[in-house]
Amino acid sequence: MSDLDRDTLLALYESMMTIRMFEERVTREFRKGDMPGFVHTYIGAEAVAVAVCAHLNDSDYISSTHRGHGHCLAKGCDPGDMLAELYGRETGLCKGRGGSMHIADFERGMLGANAIVGGGIALAAGGALAAQVRGSDAVAVTFFGDGASNQGVLHEVMNLSSIWQLPVIFVCENNGWAESTPVEYSTSVANISDRAAGYGIPGVSVDASDVLAVYDVAGAAVDRARSGEGPTLIEARIGRMVGHYLGDPEGYRSKDSKLEEQSRDPIPPFEQRLLADGVLSDSSIASIAAGIEVVLDAGVEHAKTSPMPDAADVEAHVYAPVQ
């Protein structure tokens, strides 16, 4: 078990709560009908993004998925700018061009959500390649799902990253499902982490209802990468507490199995533990939540009052100007 100081523990907690409350707010706002596009929330997976990104700084890169809000927030993106993006506003992180599935923040090394399943894997490894070429100690993390683990590009990139000893960490968020398809059906191996052996890199599975377990595993992988020892594959096991996307009727799974998955929520056990250890108190929990609520209120207000992009600008931002 990690021997973390109070501040780190609190930061992990607050970061997880920020994601959870952000996603719950997005869920409510989305239902009102004025948020465009498709939204996939990160509810239930918070421990992964938070525990991994706790080891990263702004020079480090991450690439994300269609389910990217948690990665953004954990990497330090501004919730208000994110909300403005979700609402398609000119003030959004991507000026409203991308939305939930294509949100990015290059200043924070956040190389983008990706609506192509598996689409971010090579990009993050590219970030790691750039770091290696420059001789910096930056690392890169690519988050992807169990579904994405069957995309060919993962195989290619794990192989290439291994032979070049790139500072990249492969984080597979195994929530048991790819849309309606269960991982037991789609994937020919018991532990996705077992595939690491085929690439000569360490592979480890971790129960991601335990944020501290993920923290340790991720810390070791980031250290390895930073010190030039190459990639690691981490399989983080989570329950998919919600539907695949906002609005998913979920006809393909039973109420019982969903309840079972919801019981793997990473937040309550961590909260209990921090309460027991005196790191949190009922009142500090309330005040953290209140603080986040203030940020989210302001964020939603910012988003909804921001201007839409001008239709006349539809052709802007396709090409970088020639110097």
Partner: protein, 337 residues
Amino acid sequence: MTDRTLSGAQAIGEALFQAMEQDANVIVLGEDVSGGAGLGEPHEGEMGGSFGVTRSLFSAFGPTRVRDTPISEAAVAGLATGAAAAGIRPVADMMWSSFTPLAFDQIFNQAAKMRYMFGGQATVPVVYRMAMGAGLGAAGQHSDTLYSLYTHIPGLKVVVPSSPYDAKGLLLSSIEDDNPVLFFEHMGLYGQKGHVPEEPYTVAIGEASVLREGSDVTIVAISMMTVKAIDAAELLSADGVESEVIDPRSLSPLDVETLRRSVEKTGRLVIVDESPPRCSIASDIAAIVGEEAFGALQAPIRRVTAPHTPVPLSPPLEQAYIPSIERVLAAVRSTLA
């Protein structure tokens, strides 16, 4: 009977069902085509693909012929191609056309070329179905049309239905066809309602449909742009301008004859296409008709297309991306000026 009405999604689902009934060699495979089908049991609440199109198939035809797949577009397209070459008739659900780039080698280097490279011995009766198009706010990596890319590729057929009736008949033709067919289902088609006979029937690939006759200008519209073209034609009619609206229905092969004849009559051509303009089907039709009906043309051929950009999320931008009735009207009027 004659007023039996189905949505585009239902019409496509019915075509698949009937094709599977008629021919045990027809199989359906793709991500979530049933949904949880891999668990073995037919079940309530099947997903049936992203738009519910394939919902009825698993219960009726079982796991050997209706196969959920992992997220592995290259393998899905590649196995479908190989299985077709080995004599069955797979219908691969590629979900959205924007995902086909992951399978592009299988379609471009394998399926399309196999018959030619092998001197005619290969027969590759595979259909790749896919949703396409902007309008749902799905943004950059889901909303591409891409039929222009596939039309460039020799060896492929490219089908773009714009009504439930055509969708059913063209899909049955596509499944019967002995060549690889890219079958593009526009977002807007799924919800559209229209007359669809219950019995199986085919609509020939390669025959355009004249949706509206007119003598002043020809408007060729691709896929659901037909709706804009028809609406524009009605508005123009009020001004005394009679438009002939043509839906090519398939882009490869293209029914050049029908297009040429219409333009020889009207002397004017506007093409409405939701893809970006460069090397697009709009350019292609303009080039072909510009050559074949040169003498008849009384005005430059106008192309009303998406801009040369990916598809944006934000609603005002997405609306600016999709060709509008106003732009169609302006283009038609410019040919009359």
